[in-house]
């Protein structure tokens, strides 16, 4: 197995608060990893550092031995990292098709991007809304559109921040299938609160707590671990408070 993504002693402070406190994280090629942890555990900040939105206070991030620490989002993105943010970040004034085409254009000519957009839209079942203005879509449709944009950039690593939040039962099922399908060709990291969903998709789970990795193991063992239950029930939270 080759290591695709590696962070060492990654730290991020905001003023006096340390949101991420020395995270050593390794991700192998082809994995589908879930990050869980209570609110404020540092998962989102960790994600933001991975895609360059927030520079680390110290520590290093490597993608395939390529040191990307402190690089700006577009540099990291062009090294094959795609992120679907928690609140969809979209081009509200463009149509769905235009958005996906623009996303694909970084590595392709406009006409090739058009073909890829066709393919991705078909794949995600979005052909029906291809010519709608993104700003007028429903919440679920916005999530899918963002995913379509991310996928059409052909990323090696896909970061998904709470992909099923606010989705209906059917949409969750579809997302599950889709994630598994994406994982056949790409490495995926998912931040998720919904434990049922985590159980359905993940094999390996990393638990964040107080900005550190509390435990990292197979999904069943993690969910059975008493420390994890304590964290979610707030016991250790109380102790630290």
């Amino acid at each position: 197995m080759t290591v695709l993504l590696e962070t060492s002693r990654l730290i991020r402070r905001y003023g006096g608060v340390t949101a991420v406190d020395g995270v050593d994280f390794t991700l192998n090629e082809g994995e589908l990893r879930c990050l869980i942890g209570p609110n404020g555990a540092g998962k989102s900040t960790f994600f933001k550092m991975l895609c360059g939105l927030v520079p680390p206070s110290s520590g290093a991030i490597k993608i395939r031995n390529d040191d990307v620490t402190g690089m700006r989002p577009h540099e990291i993105a062009s090294r094959g990292v795609g992120i679907k943010t928690q609140v969809p970040s979209l081009f509200d004034g463009l149509t769905v098709r235009e958005s996906v085409e623009v996303a694909a254009m970084r590595r392709l000519t406009p006409s090739a991007a058009c073909d890829i957009a066709d393919e991705t839209l078909g794949h995600l079942n979005l052909k029906g809304i291809a010519n709608r203005i993104v700003g007028q879509l429903s919440h679920g449709q916005r999530q899918w559109t963002e995913l379509a944009m991310v996928l059409s950039t052909d990323p090696k690593i896909v970061l998904l921040d709470e992909p099923v939040a606010g989705m209906t039962h059917d949409e969750v099922n579809r997302t599950e299938d889709l994630l598994k399908h994406i994982n056949t060709t790409r490495t995926v990291i998912v931040v998720e609160h919904d434990m049922q969903f985590v159980k359905r998709i993940a094999t390996k789970v990393t638990v964040f707590h107080h900005g550190r990795i509390l435990i990292e193991d197979d999904v069943d063992r993690v969910l059975a671990d008493s420390r994890v239950r304590d964290v979610y029930l707030g016991k250790s939270g109380l102790r630290y408070a």
Binding site: P73, F91, V102, A103, R106, M149
Partner: protein, 334 residues
């Protein structure tokens, strides 16, 4: 759809070109032609701001700086070297250089919209003050005194390339109008290219564009430079038209006007700003002639009313009405 729009743009421009270049010069009096030349130069300037603001999301209050710098450069180079063609190129080059420097400052500093507006406004005021204060004859570039608030008079007209013959009023008119039409076509084309579409997406959501791998700063800088090149050229053509350039081009009133043209005509279109410029220039000229009411007062009221009542601008409003009339045939695009 896109191909159709592109054809409409080309054919429309062609028809406008035939009328403006082929018929108008023979149908109207020379002093009207001179007025029309001015309108065309202003339309070029308006499109330059319409492009960077409407398609790049860059609200610059300093587009007049590039216009003014273009005009002054043309005057200084043309008078020093006696070569109007070289002067025209120099005007564009100097404006672009200025835009690259200023743009680096703004976009690499990640200044937000409001700060960008104030910084660009400040730059134009610095020029206004400095140019106004350089009235002593010690301030000169080559043989040409800057002239302070009097500006530089006696700017030579363009010549027929390879000869010494100056362009006539009608020929200058044809040249400026042709440039205006070419700028319109060129920008319409640029917006549909890969560069233009990425630029638009950056305007929509800069963070998302960066997460997709685009360096937003670079795209905005490029757009800013293109806008400056066009504005600088407009300034040079204005200097050719009027034979005089003075610090008023750096004044707050003029930079305000450019923004009104774009707002009133329609942000997010190219034809809108051009029309806005022509209409308001006509209004200003008319107000100056009838002398009933202070021009500033009338413009001020128009400005407020436009913002409150037609926030989208005239052209998008018209397109909207047409779209309703023709059953959504026309989408609101340039």
């Amino acid at each position: 759809m896109r191909a159709l729009q592109s054809h409409v743009t080309t054919i429309g421009t062609l028809v406008a070109g035939i009328v403006l270049v082929g018929i108008v010069p023979f149908a109207v009096a020379p002093f009207t032609l001179a007025d029309l030349t001015l309108y065309a130069a202003m339309a070029i300037l308006a499109m330059s701001l319409g492009f960077i603001w409407g398609f790049g999301g860059i609200l610059s209050f300093g587009q007049s700086v590039f216009f003014g710098v273009g005009g002054y450069t043309y005057a200084i180079v043309a008078l020093n070297f006696d070569s109007p063609s070289l002067a025209l190129l120099a005007a564009i080059a100097v404006a672009v250089t200025g835009a690259l420097l200023l743009g680096y400052f703004i976009f690499w500093g990640r200044l937000s919209d409001v700060y960008l507006a104030v910084i660009t406004l400040t730059i134009s005021l610095i020029f206004f003050m400095l140019m106004n204060s350089m009235s002593s004859s010690i301030y000169r570039i080559g043989d040409v005194p800057i002239g302070g608030y009097n500006g530089i008079p006696g700017i030579p007209p363009l010549v027929v390339p390879g000869t010494d013959r100056s362009l006539s009023v009608a020929e200058t008119y044809v040249l400026v109008v042709t440039v205006a039409l070419l700028v319109y076509l060129g920008l319409s084309w640029l917006i549909r290219t890969k560069f233009g579409r990425i630029l638009c997406s950056i305007k929509e959501n800069e963070v998302r564009a960066e997460l997709l791998g685009y360096d937003a700063r670079l795209y905005k800088l490029a757009a800013f430079a293109v806008g400056a090149a066009i504005a600088g050229m407009a300034g040079a053509l204005f200097a050719v038209y009027s034979g005089l350039i003075n610090p008023d081009v750096f004044g707050i009133g003029f930079s305000a006007q450019i923004i009104v043209w774009v707002m009133l005509g329609g942000l997010g279109t190219l034809i809108g700003p051009a029309l806005g410029a022509v209409l308001i220039q006509m209004l200003v000229v008319w107000l100056g002639k009838v002398q009933v009411i202070d021009a500033n007062m009338a413009l001020g009221v128009l400005f407020i009313v436009a913002v409150l009542l037609v926030p989208a601008g005239l052209v998008p409003r018209l397109q909207g009405l047409l779209a309703v009339a023709f059953g959504n045939l026309a989408r609101s695009r340039p």
